[in-house]
């Protein structure tokens, strides 16, 4: 097996045993990028020189016996997390030349843990999309079928892990942007509890929903990444100051006697039959693990999409107001102020971003606020309550991650509503602020990955690691690799 194909824990063991070096791993991953990046286009920027010099530094430390949790591990960052001195574009023309003078908190944490950053990954513009097709830098392709989308908005980060162009990566999830591409690319992706991982330096899409999380090749790696990422940050007011457990400890435990909640509202028409079959098989696997499945109800599920598409665009319309051409980023030439604003934003933002800014602006307007934003906030509270009630009856909830496997590039670009429906099973999690994980649960006949999603109560990421690793061990999903 090549180094670039390995997991974090495999590479960690090799480094500890002196069987490999940070430089060797980095070179292996960079070679892999050279070989497949043209087909997949996971990256907006590959940080070859930075990665190699960071690896050389890491090797010095490793030689001294200073081995950290991610020493020498190649990590890719979604181009929505700010990197000091390195352009951070958010997949947008308007920020194509923006170089932050600061690192995001997660970047600081990863670097302190020994991670080697190999690049900034592609994404839907400002994380608005479910296919990575709205990127200013062109679409990313699904490594399992290059005609298909990798999911989104963190499609680049998911594809990079699936195509072995990095060992693990960072994404952000506002309505499913980690879990949905993880499912469509056949890897593990976790959205932590809102407030668990610092948002400082994460370019905001919808501040009350955004959360950073990892993409990994297996559940144990997810636990390793969460150990590094999670924790209180006084630079974020919504960060929550509660202890971070050692997530890795949850990875080997069994789930005998657990109650697995199956929300009846999630198994309705519209689910692809092959996805449905895979999920039903997953429920059986849970039972084989000694858990018991129970039917639960999340009665406000039908409103999730509507609530999300008011709250997220409303917050976005305000969050994106700062991109006005005055201070940084793209500025369209114009003779006076109003003209400059209009041209800059008209040319700087893509169609989907403009669509959401307009929806959000409308929802917040005088005379509409009560009917839209306020009402949506009220329903959001009910959705949150649905989950609180549900978790009284079960330990975790199991659902499909997506209603269908990866669709074709261009298939839904002309139909935003169809596109929005691909997040139908992931959105409620963000509205409730709870954590969720998606992991592979099988393949369709045509060889496309299918994902299963587990959800738990606030700050119960440990439970998710536990159930996901139990599932992973029992299900023994065939270890396939995309043919590239």
């Amino acid at each position: 097996m090549e180094l670039y194909q390995s997991t974090i824990h495999e590479l960690q063991d090799k480094i500890k045993e002196g069987k490999t070096t940070a430089t060797a791993i980095t070179k292996s991953v960079l070679q892999r990028i050279d070989a497949v990046e043209e087909k997949v286009h996971s990256y907006i920027r590959v940080m070859k020189d930075e990665a190699l010099s960071a690896a050389a530094e890491a090797d010095k430390e490793i030689k001294k016996g200073n081995i950290k949790p991610l020493s020498g591990i190649s990590i890719a960052l979604k181009d929505i997390v700010c990197t000091k001195g390195i352009a951070t574009t958010c997949g947008s023309h308007i920020l194509h030349n923006f170089v932050p003078p600061y690192d995001a908190s997660v970047v600081e944490k990863l670097r302190a843990a020994g991670a080697i950053f190999v690049g900034k990954t592609n994404m839907d513009e400002f994380a608005m999309g479910s296919s990575t097709e709205t990127s200013y830098f062109g679409p990313t392709r699904n490594p399992w079928d290059l005609e298909r989308i990798p999911g989104g908005s963190s499609g680049g980060s998911a594809a990079a892990v699936a195509a072995d162009e990095c060992v693990a990566s960072i994404g952000s999830d506002t309505g499913g942007s980690i879990r949905q591409p993880a499912a469509l690319c056949g890897i593990v992706g976790m959205k932590p509890t809102y407030g668990r991982v610092s948002r400082f330096g994460l370019i905001a899409f919808a501040s009350s929903l955004d959360q950073i999380g990892p993409f990994t090749k297996d559940v144990e790696d997810c636990a390793i990444m969460m150990n590094v990422l999670a924790g209180y940050d006084r630079r974020e007011s919504t960060s929550v100051n509660i202890d971070v457990p050692d997530y890795r400890q949850f990875a080997g435990r069994d789930i005998k006697g657990w109650k697995i909640g199956i929300p009846k509202e999630y198994f309705v028409e519209g689910i692809d039959p092959e996805v449905k079959a895979a999920i039903e098989a997953s429920i059986k696997t849970m039972e084989k693990c000694g858990a018991q499945s129970v039917e639960i109800s999340l009665p406000h599920t039908q409103y999730c999409l509507a609530v999300y598409y008011i709250i997220a665009p409303a917050e976005a319309s305000s969050n994106l107001a700062r991109y006005d051409g005055v201070k940084y980023g793209f500025r369209a030439p114009a003779s006076e102020l109003l003209d400059m604003y209009k041209k800059t934003r008209m040319q700087g933002f893509g169609a989907e971003v403009k669509r959401r800014i307009m929806i959000g602006t409308y929802a917040l307007s005088a005379g509409y606020y009560d009917a839209y934003y306020k009402k949506a906030s009220q329903v959001r509270a009910l959705i949150k309550k649905d989950f609180e009630e549900a978790f009284k009856k079960c330990d975790v909830i199991l659902t499909p991650t997506t209603p269908t496997p990866a669709f074709k590039i261009g298939e839904k670009t002309d139909n935003p509503l169809q596109m929005y429906l691909s997040d139908i099973f992931t959105i409620s999690t963000n509205l409730a602020g709870i954590p969720g994980i998606s992991l592979p649960c099988g393949f369709t006949k045509s060889g496309l990955p299918v994902g299963v999603q587990f959800l738990a109560g606030h700050f119960q990421e440990g439970k998710l690691i536990q159930v996901a690793s139990a599932y992973e061990r029992k299900a023994q999903i065939e270890k396939r690799r995309p043919k590239l």
Binding site: I80, V81, C82, T88, C90, L95, F98, P100, P101, Y102, A104, R199, F200, G201, L202, I203, A204, A206, S207, S208, R234, R235, E236, S237, T238, A314, E315, S317, S318, L320, A321, R322, Y323, D324, V326, K327, Y328, L337, Y341, T361, L364, S365, A366, Y369, Y373
Partner: protein, 476 residues
Amino acid sequence: MEFETVIGLEVHAQMLTETKIFCSCSTKFGAAPNSHTCPICLGMPGVLPVLNKKVVEYAMKMALATNCAINPTCEFARKNYFYPDLPKGYQISQYAYPLAEHGWLELEVNGGKKRIGITRIHMEEDAGKLLHDEHNPVSYVDLNRTGVPLIEIVSEPDIRGAEEAADYLKRLHEILVYLEICDGNMEEGSFRCDANVSIRPKGQKEFGTRAELKNMNSFRNVQRGLEYEIKRQQYIVENGGTIVQETRLWDDAQGVTNSMRGKEEAHDYRYFPDPDLVPVIVDEAWIGKIRADMPELPQAKRERFISEYQISAYDAGVLTSEKALAGYFEEVVAICAKPKQAGNWLMGDVMKFLNEDKKTIRECPITAASLAEMINLIDAGTISGKMAKDIVEEMYQSGKNPREVIAEKGMVQITDEAALAKTISSIIDANPQQLADYRAGKEKLFGFFVGQVMKATQGKANPQIVNDLLKKMLAK
């Protein structure tokens, strides 16, 4: 027709915190453009605000001082609009749930007392500043002021005239400065005021159409601007016109208000709760802590000065106009126990020197202990009041205490009766004609003899003793 004026005031006061409301940049005025900025106040992508707790505490002080109820929970909201001095494209302010509401401030009106309602006090961040190039069609943006903490104090439309408005502002200003939460500097914009003005026929209940008045940067301009605006509105109504709801700017040089031509009128600020900040929870314990930390407020101090020191309302007003002055006065009185004299010296000579030098009482070279000592020396007869006038000036110039000044200048009063009698007798001997005239009934000449004695003693003779001795010796 007789009209009644209805005025409501919105005051923005800059909080005297060291750092900005949502980042750790300095709030100091006058630095090089954009030197007091960081990614947070520059509104860069991905950065987040963290509330400066001091701002809440300062705002709570003002709320308590103006009898407001502090809400157990308040929240920040975004006020969305585009302007180059607003780097995020929104101002973080408070909207639906402000920090405090339902307060009042008491004014003295026509010898009686009148309460002006305070609708709300909320916290917000200031915007930056645009600098326009005089020679080129470009503007520069200075974001030093961006994120400087402000509180907005909104009054009820309870104010009935320009003078009353100015009075309200002065009281508000005085409290802010007393609380040491605002430097009150109107020129630098630390204390700003907008006014909503309307008129209505006397007796009418409904409000008239209001104009919002801006750009009045002194108490005097507020009064002048309002007076002009009231007259303008009366003129329109009396001539059959109608008032337009609009924002008007006071032009200090021309002495008129001009319409902003609806430029800002159509704004929909799309307020919504800021998702980057959590609600501020204020419990009773916190309020109690702030309350315990409150200084005596100007009005209470004035009343206490009148009753405790037996001084006039006017003197009490002057002495409490500044917290430091009141503190100085009380320090002097604590040592010499002569409030009337202390007040007179302070409001007379000392204030005159300070005003001439544009100094504040904090910078006064005469310590309270020195002034008290000087008053005691007058009282003990060691120096005369007249000598004291020179001594206090020397104390002010040199910073020395009165005993040092007296010793240096040999200014101790001559109270030795035998020595003075000797001087007087030689003066009588030298002026036989005047003595004869005095004895013949020309009593006005008494003053001549006093003058001669003072001249001979270089003004150091104790006037009372001189008087007594002269009377005796001239009568012989």
